[in-house]
């Protein structure tokens, strides 16, 4: 089943390693970047909302 003779041969990607691995790396990297940015965006928004809540927690939050 496994068509690669060795781990090294798999890494070489039939001579196209210089193109395949950067592509995969870039794609995964962008996914991770998006994940981190999304989580931080939510955390920031939550902080702002909590701070606003603390400031006028009692008063004019009517819907």
């Amino acid at each position: 089943m496994n068509q690669w003779a060795s781990f090294g041969e798999w890494l070489a990607m039939g001579g196209y390693a210089a193109y395949v691995w950067p592509s995969i790396g870039l794609a995964i990297g962008t996914l991770l970047l998006n994940m981190v940015m999304a989580r931080r965006r939510h955390a920031q928004a939550l902080q702002r909302a909590l701070r606003r809540l603390a400031v006028d927690g009692n008063g004019n939050g009517e819907a």
Binding site: N2, W4, W10, G14, Y19, I24, R41, G57, A63
Partner: protein
């Protein structure tokens, strides 16, 4: 009546905030699983392409990114339309949530397309119809995000970027076919012919799994960012206080 209440409930921020929170983990883990399995299938198990050998494996990230960049833009336009017509803040929040991830998929698609083209055509950039229309789509994203950040008032930013998204989505097919028409004038179809249908199953299955993985990732980012956008837009709502007091 049931469909209307469903649609109506989608309009209420507290409800959407909660279900986005509940669904997010499922999308997140699902995406991770699919992408790991898809990459393993594509990079290890799938046989090399008879023509492009192992370089074709870039398709496992290139094609899903291309598909996602387009589906994100369409979803943004639909959300923008709903937001404008029914004046639903949630829809504008969804459009705002989709833009960054859509733009980054467009960029990934371009970069991997260029990396894939290098061994095929010997140049980093080739004015191939697909790459060119993808480049223009990236410009549309950048224009959208530039317009959104140009307005300080959140509501005006929402509504004017919504108009742009709708105008943009009408033009996407026009741009697509005019680029293909322009490209076919000057040269025959390029050699990058790894179209999906002609692929054997052990190559095709990982690709479909990657599509699913990327889509689930898009939904995860949508849920996470949507909650942030809702928090920004619902500053003075009472439900927000109970929600925040008992933990996000």
């Amino acid at each position: 009546m049931a469909t209307w209440t469903w649609f109506h409930k989608l309009g209420s921020p507290p409800h959407v905030y909660r279900i986005a929170g509940r669904f997010a983990p499922w999308f997140g883990w699902g995406a991770l699983l699919c992408i790991v399995y898809g990459l393993f299938g594509g990079l290890v198990l799938a046989p090399p392409d008879y023509q492009q050998k192992d370089a074709f494996r870039i398709i496992y990230v290139h094609a899903p990114a291309a598909w996602l960049s387009l589906s994100c833009y369409t979803a943004m336009a639909v959300a923008a339309f709903v937001g404008l017509v029914w004046r639903m803040k949630i829809a504008h929040a969804a459009a705002a949530a989709l833009a960054p991830v859509g733009a980054s998929f467009a960029f990934v698609c371009l970069a991997t397309g260029s990396l894939w083209g290098r061994p095929m055509w010997g140049t980093w950039w080739e004015w191939d119809a697909r790459l060119t229309s993808q480049l223009i789509l990236l410009f549309l994203y950048l224009g959208y995000m530039a317009l959104r950040s140009a307005h300080d008032d959140l509501q005006r930013a929402d509504r004017s970027s919504a108009v742009l998204a709708i105008v943009g989505v009408v033009n996407v097919p026009i741009i697509h076919y005019s680029v293909y028409w322009w490209n076919s004038l000057h040269q025959g179809a390029t050699v990058m012919k790894a179209d999906r249908p002609s692929m054997p199953t052990e190559m095709l299955v990982p690709l479909l799994v990657m599509f699913l993985g990327f889509t689930l990732f898009q939904l995860w980012v949508l849920c996470t960012r949507l909650r942030a956008e809702i928090l920004d837009r619902e500053r003075n709502a009472r439900w927000l206080q109970e929600q925040l007091r008992e933990g996000a």
